[in-house]
Symmetry: C2
Subunit: 410 residues, 2 copies
């Protein structure tokens, strides 16, 4: 609550739960004091069939969630020998002495199920509250406590909470959800293009959702009931018929991962030459595990001297057209391809801002080029965003030029 940490759990858990057909009705963040934690858990148990609590399971004095919840539910804490052995083994494997305080993590509320934690010391806990004294009618609720670190929470959710939901809180009817990731079409334009074709499916119960990011729009198709799979499949088919070329991925895959995957399958290599994106394009490509098989080099040629030295851009071209020009981006891409003996080279040059614009070339102006064996193509865009958004949007456009070329789209 001091704003020192960005809460990524909300997005991650909401996405996973929503894609499993669960309706998330509320997310609450509170200070880690006893009354606030108990009050928030009590309110959540009064409302929901499933309450997920994150954090507060560590070994330090402000990790009090386990104790407070056991107390609230009237369950004694019992030391679990298997958990203690797991914690001891965790430290032994890392050749570090086990601090005495970590022993508290082996305490388990009576009746709780253990969720094993291969990535840390604190196990997760799952308890059914039945009868539920906080809920009018007393209907049961499940209370799931997960450790705070994302690298512990996420695999635990996938491997242990998802099966628990299927077994203990089964959906009353089938649920199907597909996300198709699109690029290059704005959210309103995309809606306008597909609205009529989607109408018959929304009439049959299709839930159609959009989420716009920088230059990308995710389309979520979901449906409940016996006909769900058919409705979603037909809606996807119609969507692909209308805007298929703009769909770059399904579910979670990022554009840079798609490009690395396509290059890897074709055994082709890539070099990039960046000016205004300043390394963003190389950074994103090299975030993909295995990128080294296809990515040879990124030349972040911010200065004109560097464009000449590393890419062979000619002084006359720079003098005649300026660094932000079709002629220069073409020489950058071709120079990067030649210097690296690469199958493909991407180049970008533009004005990221906030300063440096002119009436003729305003902030956000950018030229992009792709040089391949078949020749060089150039695009011009105006990405009038703040500096960081500009870099991401421009990197998206460059990656998309390559994706389309690799798939033989015009």
């Amino acid at each position: 609550m001091l704003g020192r940490t960005l809460n990524t759990h909300q997005q991650w858990l909401c996405r996973r739960l929503a894609d499993l057909g669960r309706v998330v009705s509320r997310q609450v963040a509170i200070p880690d004091t006893g009354p606030e934690i108990q009050q928030a858990v009590r309110e959540a148990l009064s409302r929901a069939d499933l309450v997920v609590v994150t954090g507060g399971l560590g070994p330090t004095s402000d990790d009090i969630t386990r104790e407070l919840i056991a107390e609230m539910l009237g369950q004694p804490l019992v030391e679990d020998a298997q958990v203690l052995a797991h914690i001891e083994a965790f430290f032994a494997q890392r050749q570090r002495p086990m601090p005495a305080r970590n022993q508290v993590q082996a305490l388990v509320p009576a009746g709780a199920r253990l969720l094993w934690n291969p990535h840390g010391t604190a196990p997760g806990l799952a308890m059914v509250v039945r009868p539920n004294p906080f809920r009018s009618g007393g209907g049961a609720s499940w209370l799931v406590m997960l450790p705070g670190p994302p690298r512990e929470l996420r695999p635990m959710f996938e491997a242990q909470v998802v099966p628990l939901l299927h077994a203990e809180l089964p959906l009353t009817e089938a649920f199907v959800c597909r996300t198709l990731r699109t690029i290059s079409i704005g959210e309103s334009a995309l809606q306008a293009q597909i609205a009529d074709a989607m109408h018959p499916f929304t009439a049959q119960g299709l839930e159609l959702g959009y989420c716009a990011k920088t230059g990308q729009v995710d389309v979520r198709l979901a449906a409940h009931g016996g006909a769900a799979a058919g409705v979603v499949a037909q809606a996807e088919k119609a969507l692909r018929g209308l805007v298929g070329e703009a769909i770059f991925a399904e579910q979670f895959e990022e554009l840079e991962a798609v490009v690395v995957r396509l290059l890897t399958a074709r055994k082709q290599t890539l070099a990039v030459a960046e000016s205004c994106t300043g390394g963003c394009l190389s950074h994103r490509l090299t975030n993909v595990p295995g990128a080294s098989a296809v990515f040879q080099a990124g030349l972040v040629t911010y200065s004109n001297a560097a464009k000449q030295r590393f890419l062979g851009v000619r002084a006359e071209t720079l003098a005649a057209h300026g660094a932000v020009s079709e002629a220069v981006v073409r020489e950058m891409a071709e120079g990067a391809r030649t210097a690296n003996h690469a199958d493909h080279a991407l180049a970008v040059t533009g004005i990221a801002g906030p300063s440096g614009g002119t009436p003729e070339k305003p902030v956000g102006s950018v030229f992009l080029a792709l040089a391949s064996a078949a020749g060089t193509q150039v695009k011009h865009q105006v990405n009038a965003w703040d500096r960081e958004t500009f870099k991401q949007a421009t990197a998206n456009q460059a990656l998309e030029m390559l994706r389309r070329a690799l798939l033989g789209m015009s």
Copy 2:
């Protein structure tokens, strides 16, 4: 609640409010349906002196917050001529027709104060709920509604909400808050180093907080009351005496911004040669507005061929020591410095993982070098993190080598 958008408002608003001496007691996210919005606002008004609502002020059919809150508080919505003129001017300036739906954004609950929006169409709104029917005792609460886009919300908060808080909800006593950003010392080690020295100040009411990020720990010093300024200043002095060299910035400044600022002041230039960080270092440096004055080029030499071609790393060095070695990182830095005629060059080579490690050089092994007029220094680290954290941690270490050199630290 579908997990399609990351909520950054919580962190940003909590940080600003906490640093202004306000205690944030709860953050709630809800679906944008009428009953959920009204219920959540009602609960918040029953608890707090200040309730901040974000989003739902747009022109589309799911932007219903304005109407719902006016209805809940029994205030009619009245079209405001000045707001309408602002919205019309906003579209006129962009040479776009004003959609009819945007007129709804000129509706203002009777008695509300307008918070002007220079970055968008929807004004913010501030209302005092007095008497407050939702609060036991009826004590007044302020309700502030802000537009959802961060580029609209943040300047509006700074320019208009902060003065409103000072005027309408003044603190009952003085409050002082300072954040000192440290690097290279782990959170526990830092606590151990400063605990004794901080004790007299915490005894005088100093609130001492830590927030650990990748390789960095922010230390927050805060105090209330007449002696607050003195206590915080003395604690800061003591902290600087103990770990002063590790303090790289105050408040919000990022490490890359510090490095660009120091280079700019010295009129010195920088080139970087990256292998395992894959462009992350260049990307971060070029996120800083004005970086082009000091940053000449980044050579992302992922392949050995690129290390030889662009940096002049010798084939014999690669063959004798391998790409991840002290000898190679030294040649990378010196090669980047020479090729770019730069005052300084940073180089990194390592194993980002998840694969590629050996028993001798495990995943996370990295060599860093800084070449300057005075010579070349090399460091070895093992950053055993996931791939993206590895890249950020390594970039931090490289930037820190340069910061220390620029400030004449050993």
